[in-house]
């Protein structure tokens, strides 16, 4: 029983790493622009498909595909930003609908270009097992991208806290007008947050391509999960989002272990609602209330 629980927690933490990479990007854009980018999961998926194309056409290792994916996803994110910035009335709802429409476009473009087949890397290196103390099992891909993701998120965290541009992003998210008065260029800062989100999305996409299987409708699923995690954490900080993601990952794997794998989504959703109702500003939300 003990080793079952330990494995469940181990799997949950690793899964949380994936979730966090997707969620941090979403939270970052929400922070600077007060906009939820419903096409964020599709950007992650796009990165994964670029890796697939590079591997199947040119035999490129998925890790080597990161620069290409970064360019394509970055350009797509910039395009999303350019369209978003043209909205001038009812920003909250119209931006939701706009990004939602962009998500539909991306999903169907993927469907038309790459068909509905499932894909995953053919490089077996990523799926070899990593065994810790004979009781904890994982795939190399999971461990590599968990560690890589942590480093990346730590980097973004440091950038937000210590660089001028990063502070501008934070300033914009806490008080837009004050930030402008302090000389922050909102457009440049917003697009910067979009590009950092694209960087995280790219990394997450490659991670998913090497560890799991990809198919066109996956993008929407990832957006919803990322949003749930961001709300759970309270949009506050990168460490908060990471902890929220790990919590979701663990509650899912514990449900699989002790109840049934068909109820893991239910457990995640209920946790989400409970946190929302009991602690409306999220677990680590601080000032930014989400309830009236």
């Amino acid at each position: 029983m003990l080793s079952l629980t330990l494995q469940a927690l181990f799997s949950g933490v690793l899964a949380g790493g994936y979730y966090a990479m997707v969620a941090v990007g979403l939270a970052l854009v929400f922070g600077t622009m007060r906009i939820i980018n419903l096409a964020h999961g599709e950007l992650v998926l796009l990165a994964a498909y670029v890796a697939y194309a590079a591997e199947s056409q040119y035999g490129l290792n998925p890790v080597m595909a990161i620069p290409f994916a970064l360019v394509i996803v970055g350009a797509s994110a910039a395009l999303v930003y350019a369209l978003l910035s043209r909205i001038d009335q009812d920003r909250e709802i119209n931006s939701l609908i706009l990004t939602f429409g962009l998500g539909i476009i991306l999903t169907n473009a993927v469907l038309m270009i790459w068909a509905a087949d499932i894909h995953s890397t053919t490089a077996p290196w990523f799926q070899e097992s990593v065994v810790v103390a004979d009781t904890l099992f994982a795939m190399r891909s999971e461990v590599v991208f968990f560690v890589g993701g942590l480093v990346l998120m730590a980097g973004v965290h440091g950038w937000l806290n210590h660089s001028w541009q990063g502070r501008a992003v934070r300033a914009l998210s806490s008080n837009r007008n004050a930030a402008k008065l302090m000389g922050v260029n909102p457009r440049r800062t917003e697009i910067l947050s979009f590009l950092v989100a694209a960087l995280l999305a790219t990394f997450a996409g490659i991670a998913i391509y090497t560890g799991k299987t990809i198919f066109p409708s996956l993008g929407h699923v990832m957006t919803v999960k990322a949003f749930i995690i961001t709300v759970l954490a309270g949009m506050g900080s990168i460490p908060g989002v990471l902890i929220g993601a790990v919590m979701i990952g663990c509650i899912e794997s514990l449900t699989v272990t002790y109840v049934s794998a068909s109820l893991q989504e239910l457990a995640g959703m209920i946790l989400f609602l409970v946190v929302l109702f009991v602690m409306p500003s999220g677990l680590f939300g601080g000032r930014k209330a989400i309830a009236r």
């Binding site: 369209l83 909205i87 909250e92 609908i97 429409g101 962009l102 539909i104 169907n108 239910l266 929302l276």
Partner: protein, 318 residues
Amino acid sequence: MKRFLVPAALAVAYVAVPLAFGGNPYVMGLIVAALTIGGIAVAWALLGNLGGMVSFGHAAFFGVGSYTSAVLSMKLGVPPLAGLLLGGLGAAIASIATMPALRLKGPYFALAILAYAHIFQILATEMTGVTGGAGGLLSIPRFPTLLGVDLGSKTGGYVIILTIVVLSAAAYAAIRRSAWGLALKAMHDTEIATRVIGVPSTHLKAAMLALSAFITGVVGAFNAHFINFLEPDYAFSGAWTVLPIAAAIFGGYRTVWGPVIGALTIYLLDQLVFKELMPHGHQFVLGMLLVGMILLSPGGLAPILGRRLEGGQRHAHA
């Protein structure tokens, strides 16, 4: 001009459409499906305009309504027409479970409702004894023949869903004109001010949520008896949320009839035109339409049409 518009449109809808397309089950089926989307779109827009709440989970109410009516008619022999109302009632009751979400702001409310839709779907899958589980329910009773009209036919179904949509839109319009509507609009603008002058905002919002859920539930119940089939993935499908939102935005969610016009336009364009041009992936065009509409005319189609009809004399609406 506008005075004659509604009666004329109703006459066309009730008489001319069945006469013109009654012999073509394919086109009639498409119109019924479009109106089904339209009915949800009206309910969604009602919640958005009067309650100031954007929902991403109307599929929750649609699914509960359809399962309530289907199960009652299959297990207890409740007549399908009565089942429509009970389906609506079931959805309204289910909306009580979602009411803690009312105190959440915009996107948080939207996503909370989406979470409910997921939860209801999983429950429908797991409660095998009542819902038939993932296998679903086949051969749900059809609508009966009433006064010589076969309501179970395509044209019969059309008359029923048309009536549901017209009544819903009429109720929506009436509330908007009433004192309630005024209070709701005030609340939408500045909630604190409304509270200060003594309008019980949470109660009003709860009422709007229940009404929206009721309408959606009735539409869901209609669909169950019209398609005669249900399964959790279908009844709680995200499509029941997505298409109505797209329709409402496209038609103009700030007007009463915009969502219906939007549903008919989008669905029929998609099925009759885009599908012919590109047999798969034609949702691509749907996404394009949505994006284009938001960028070029965020108010949707209805305001444009309205301006044409009234020579720009349109007054501000709630």
